[in-house]
Amino acid sequence: MTTVDNGVNVQALLDARKVLAGAPEAAQFTWRASSKWQNGVHSTTTVEKFFGLGQEQAHKSEAVFDADHPEVFAAEDNGITPIEYLLVGLAACLTAGVASVAQNRGIQLRSVESTVEGQHDIRGILGVDSDVRNGFNDIKVTFKIDADASPQDIEALVAQSQKRSAVFDALTNPTNVTVEVA
């Protein structure tokens, strides 16, 4: 029997699950991003530090994200549109979930590809029609997975990854958002 290796340390995750069951305080994380206006609709957001396991933590290095709008919006296109970052987050989160669940279920992955499409009626943000919402109307994710598993097991992988996905939850369920001026 060959051992399955998707590069996910599932044992560490299972151990964390056990430890955190008895220590809910340590499970409280705060993720942070700081943003700075550049010019026009271009901004730069950096992500480095976060809080978790009871103390300040940091990524290995700071990550910088440019957000702008494409030329069809009469902008300079110095980066992707903010709402596209949601698609990045969703795809990345579901993919991570697929890899983790596959590892936990002993399924060897050969390739996992997905495309994410968000349907967006921009009449909302432009204020053309107040009945149209600002955000996505619909998001569709299509996975192409090559793995040592039956089509049904692959379906189950994808379903379980949604069930345990932070971004899927954040997009499908309402969240309280407070915006203040400091």
Partner: protein, 404 residues
Amino acid sequence: MVVIGAGHAGLAASHFLTERSIDHVVLERGEVANSWRRERWESLRLLTPNWQSRLPGLPYAGADPDGYMTAGEVVELVDRFAAVSRAPVRTGTNVTSVSGVDGGYHVTTSRGEIRCRAVVIASGACNQPAVPRISEAVPASVEQVTPLEYQSPAKLADGGVLVVGASATGVQLASEIRASGRPVTLSVGEHVRLPRTYRGRDILWWMDASGVWDQRYDEVDDLTRARRLPSPQLVGTPERGTLDLNALAAAGVELVGRWAAVRDGRALFSGGLRNVFSLADLKMERLLATFDEWARAHGHDGSPERFAPTRVPASTRLQLDLGSGEIRTVVWATGFRPDYRWLDVPVVDPKGQLRHDGGAVESPGLYALGLPVLRRRKSTFIHGIEDDARDVIAHLAGYLAVRR
């Protein structure tokens, strides 16, 4: 020895205590089978078939093994069990406190005090409705009902009803309220889909025959999850029909996602409905595949049956204005939980559940029966009590013998 509760679980404990000649009383705040008399809606029938309505020493002997008992018939069954096993029941005796004392327990009741060496808690797993906090944000113009109060559609206000939760209770109430002509919206979270019959037999026959019901608590992969599993979407009707979400949608029930929040007087539902459908469909397929496997191995004729996937509505509403008058009543079919406010022994976890190992509660001499997957998957069901009660009372007898 004190047993708390004269439902089928407490009476089964009594049966095995009597068999071992262990002196005991069964304390019951109401009457025998109180929850079946007072806490069930009018149309309720068991979702388990009659042949499974068996108790220790009392096999089903009626003429309709494949039918489903009404609540009234369950009362008769439990009454008969109490009579046949000559259970020493003290009715109208409410237990208001149990505390640990040297060598045993001190039990305070509405009719006096009892000192005893051991206590079996059989007070039920469904004493209170588990209603989520969002209920507090529902405007006063909307009536709220729990399954413990619900009687029949006729007692509800005219107009729209939002049923929350799609386990057995939720699908059954949504179905009968819809049949009364009211518009019904059903908020669906994770659920367990099952067909009523499979390959010509009751689905619960397959659970029984293939050994799923008998799976022990120490063999279950994720016991916490197994103990929190919602009840399956099943109803016991003379027609033996399936009551899954496709059946409800065909009857005109509108399906929406899990109710996540109330904001500005509007109910907000999850957009993840499609995935809870997939999860339930996949789990059902997996279970049916294990039945097919079992059938093959045991030489049963017939071939696998497969069911249409749960149909995803073309579009589902993500919000609903609770102030518009569209919804007049919310029915919280969000599950039940036990009530241990009278228990003054520190054995209840922060989620309100007893800490126990297969019915032996963390405090020596304290035992429990009738809780989800107490010792087996079938623990909370009528047919599941015999094996559990026998084991738990054997443990208790061992405890008393050592301590004598």
